[in-house]
Amino acid sequence: MKDGKSGNGGSGTDGYAVRAEGLEKRYGEKFALDGFDLIVREGTVHGLLGPNGAGKTTAVRILSTLLRLDGGRATVAGLDVARHPREVRSRIGLTGQYAAVDEVLTGRQNLEMFGRLFHLGGRAAKLRATELLDRFDLSDAADMGVGKYSGGMRRRLDLAASMILAPAVLFLDEPTTGLDPRSRGEVWEAVRALVAGGTTVLLTTQYLEEADRLASRITVIDQGRAIADDTPDGLKNTVGGDRIEVVVAERADIPHAVKVVARVAHGEPESDETELRVHASVTDRVSALTEVARTLQDEGVRVEDIGLRRPSLDDVFLRLTGHRTEKPGKPEKSGKPEKSGDSAASEEFSTSEKGAAA
């Protein structure tokens, strides 16, 4: 996915909202970014996926002009971030890990203030605030202090604040970290609506499900480098196709099940003695499933469960990085020592499509 070294700084985006080549960021000896490349097409949601400390936040902070880069170059909306930071700032929105809104002010006061700071002028700022409050379903809470907002409402207000200028590129840095599933759904809904309105979104997340649901393309980052760049399906295919999974009732039946599965499998079946599970990748999913089910039944093997499973992005991750995504909570080096704040380090790991049974 390397693109040439065409263009330099001027405007004109060639259909790319973000283009980064060989980004470097050092902290002492350690490279937070070590030759990071990224290309994001206009009008898409692009996922930036990686474990804690992989460099996601650093990359976003550089692209949104909050951090200076030590090497490489990057353009956002056709403008060089190092040379034209101010111009870039008027074309981007940023929603950080921590809701960057004022907790004391009301939702309306927040949006009006940001509007004025975007130089809309007092009256236009007011109008825009009302419009956005309505748009993000916050009209009822408009005159309430943000401190009393729920996590989801706060995140939506944060999104609204990023949308004051209808940015060409919106950076969403872990927008749903620490949110409950319902609030997460609300944020996803809002993001989809923004993209429908023509905004390009660069989404960083640790939630594989989130990237899978929202992004049309995903870059996987590990140790400061892009290690893969593909569509979600493309990434899943790199792990291999579907897998058939059989759970038997008796441990003694495992060898038998392995033999049956091996007939349809693509490669050697694997078995798990403690979970009484046999699994293998298959090419022709439906006929494999029916054949294994019938054969096992004919041969009198008691089966607890049988099904097909698509590889999740979690599997992709494991394959690419050699480790699973970690739980959120460990601070990522981001130009500033992580200060406490509200990092609700919680959240289970949502993987997608586990056990999509036939």
Binding site: R89, A100, M113, F118, H119, L120, L165, T199
Partner: protein, 279 residues
Amino acid sequence: MTAVDLSAPGTPSAPSPRGRTYWLLADCWNIVRRGLTHYRRQPINIAWQLGFPILSVLLYGYVFGSAMQVPGGGDYRDFLMPGMFTMTMAFGFINTATLVVHDSTKGVIDRFRSMPMAASAVVAGRGVTDLLVACAELAIMMLTALAMGWRPDAGLGFLAAFGLLLWLRFALIWIGVWLGLLVPNPEAAGGLFAVAYPLTMISSIFVAPQLMPDWLGWIAAWNPISSTAAATRELFGTPVAGGDTWIEQNALPMAVVWPVLLTLVFLPLAVRRFQKLSR
């Protein structure tokens, strides 16, 4: 959610027809508005901020007041009031630091920095807000003092004293901003009080330095806030307790010079710390 056109009103990215200075001032004013709205929405905060000095006035004035003496004679409460005003200004840097650390940890400063506004307005706006609040604090404290029988000279001297107090507060803004960007979290900013308290005690605010042990009196006399306290006492026409050391004899010029020195040291430090956010 209703479908509303998300395109912005006006053409925001067009080069602004007004100059940079205009926008710097406009941005600064918007940050000030935000700061003042905070106080309006949380009046309890300013009550807290004033509570301590007013309490101190009452405690030192009435409880210890009878046992305290002023070298050269004069009423201790008259002597105390300008010291109290000075102390309130001195403690102000903790407020600045606390507000700055809140904004930087909550990501508000990052949001400002990601916007096409003047970055310096973030800090300048903080400073102007704090000076306005300092004016209000001084006014309320002076009314309390008047109610307790404090009778300063009216006129130019009074205004000059008021100005010197704000001048000290101005210098301390930069210490506050610097510390606010330095400490890791709001809790740590609260701990600054433990540092500030002895620093204000070892001064001429409560007790004249010549009544202290020699070495301590020397430190107290050279404490920058002592000069402000002594100078304002002179200007208010209240008992001065002027010692005979050079620093005490030159309280008035030094009340101007100390804040200049503090600003020269801490303004660049604060600016550097702010710029370091992008490193």
